[in-house]
Symmetry: C2
Subunit: 354 residues, 2 copies
């Protein structure tokens, strides 16, 4: 909770702006005398985005599809927005943050698994060999994460993750991982929700890992978080039922798995999708085929100073085919260095200290 | 659409009452001068339920858990209500309605599958042998349904179901299947939603079958419909992507599968569950273990005149262990004959004709 409150304080400026916007809309909704056209230009819903074509394309899209008089109007029930998480809502370097959680678990469990000394990807973890770990690819990483997350109940696992996020620090940024979320994306999520979009996370990361802490940060409830899963079993346990996590993959929510899981769980095609890697490409393609006007948004990591710069050759968050298709089909590409005034919520705080 | 409008007209009385209730609550929410205690006793949210212990237990529960001053108050975000579908929201005799849809498909596909003449459960379908089909059990029925629903896209399947529901008639009731929903349960769903419960279907039936038509009937959007699934594949299809339905079971949402799927998809334990068979028992047990005060509701089919009467020995919707545990643990059991003033929405219309 401490980190959540700190985040809130650091992010107060953006939150106050959001609250003003929400109160404003509520007053309009409740006051029968309110005008339908109002002077709302003063409230910038995306204050951490620099002015330019990227920001304007988002504002234009939302303006069009929420205007009942516009030919591109989308009914509220169909305003489904899906966001990748790693590298899209928070950072993913030098490795997926869930991996750092898994590393702590592997080291703790290693004495019970002597075979891990000679078995990848466990060997790399135990030898602190991050380069080798990257070579194992996303599938290997997910396998490692899932395997090390099993053998306990869903409730116990949730507690483990909560404890970890409250204490662990990022190896180079030296802040807790949940502070490395992108302030511009927090604003975008909120802007979409104020405009009656239902915001979902659709991530290759573990669904129960994310659910343990992201709701208060992103404002997204557990039932709108979709991710990779391990298999589970129900145990009645003499009237104290529990769900036990089994050491076997159930579903990898990446690449083809993203549109498949969206169809399985949501049952509607998104109108807005945001991602940062080739693992999001099929979700983008699925969204682009919506009968409604849709919006595809790629985060391009171009900021080697404030965040990281990587794309076609990265072992994590590789953006290659997706970048080509985005350019070819005119999808919106965020140039992180140019389009984002700040990256993390605590950057806002730094600005004010100047 | 025709059947939907007819349903609405037949059900106008209940709908008008609901609208009055919603408008009333909206006015209270928007009017800063509104009293917090109001004279709302005149509006019966469950007009198709006879007065008695069953109806009162529902009203008492909702009254308690939505009152911030009550020790059993539940925050809105945790008001998750899960409803079985077959035999719980609509009838399921003489066989699951989805089976009648499947029968039409099996007969149409039989010429391409000569092996079905000697292979259960297909043999029983082709010979119109309903007794044999019942003996194949719920697993066999789901297998039949899933197998016969594959080989097309999600979009094509949706169209098939919509066409079927618009034209097919129940073999003995001689009305379209979507008219055989339980009016008291429609009122209960709406009553819970007005009290900020999020209502879900959690059914052994196929999720895409239900999604094709139940939303306007139950008021439950596709993303709150959970059911059994077959496997699917994503096909980019040169820029016109489609999701293809494969002839293989992915997940049976029955018995243990219900709490497992609830955890996978919702990620929260329900506070309110409603079912009618032993296939719902694990969902009930999971709900009963909630840290919040929870409510477990079993529909007991006791009305051989207006609906059907069956429980411990039925091949469909068997209620045996569930009935024992409900009695032992004091869960609420609906005696359909005594507790429901009417069964189907069109019964309301019959009353008014008298």
């Amino acid at each position: 909770m401490a980190s959540f409150f700190l985040l809130k304080i650091l992010n107060m400026k953006a939150i106050v702006k959001s609250i003003i916007g929400i109160l404003f809309l509520t007053l309009i909704a409740c006051n029968p005398k309110a005008e339908t056209t109002v002077e709302s230009e003063n409230i910038d819903p995306l204050p951490s985005w620099n002015e330019g074509a990227t920001k304007q394309s988002i504002l234009d899209y939302v303006g069009k599809v929420t205007n009942p008089k516009n030919e591109h109007f989308i009914p509220i029930k169909d305003r489904i927005a899906t966001f990748d998480n790693d590298g899209n809502l928070w950072s993913e370097q030098p490795a997926y943050f869930q991996l750092f959680f898994a590393i702590d678990r592997v080291k703790a469990m290693a004495s019970e698994h002597p075979e891990w000394k000679n078995e990848q990807p466990f060997k790399a973890v135990l030898e602190n060999d991050m380069d080798e770990l990257k070579k194992q690819g996303e599938h290997g990483l997910i396998q490692l994460v899932m395997t090390t997350h099993a053998g306990n109940t869903t409730k116990e696992f949730e507690t483990d993750v909560k404890d970890w996020i409250a204490t662990a620090k990022h190896p180079t940024k030296n802040v807790s991982y949940d502070k490395l979320v992108y302030q511009p994306m927090l604003e975008l999520l909120q802007y979409l929700r104020v405009n009656n979009f239902k915001t979902y996370i659709v991530s290759g990361g573990g669904v129960d890992f994310m659910r343990a802490f992201v709701t208060p940060i992103y404002g997204i409830p557990s039932e709108q978080i979709i991710g990779s899963r391990i298999k589970t079993a129900f145990d009645y346990n003499d009237g104290n039922p529990k769900i036990v996590r089994l050491p076997a993959l159930d579903f990898i929510d990446d690449k083809d798995g993203k549109p498949l899981n969206i169809q399985k769980i949501i049952g509607k095609k998104p109108v807005f999708s945001s991602g940062n890697s080739d693992g999001d490409l099929q979700m983008m393609q699925w969204t682009a085929s919506n009968k409604y006007k849709s919006f595809m948004l790629y985060v391009h990591h171009t900021d080697s100073i404030r965040e990281w710069a990587y794309d076609r050759d990265s072992h994590i968050g590789r953006l290659d085919k997706g970048l080509d298709q985005a350019k070819k089909d005119g999808w919106t590409i965020i140039d992180m260095e140019k389009d984002w005034r700040i990256i993390y919520p605590f950057d806002n705080y730094r600005d004010e200290l100047k």
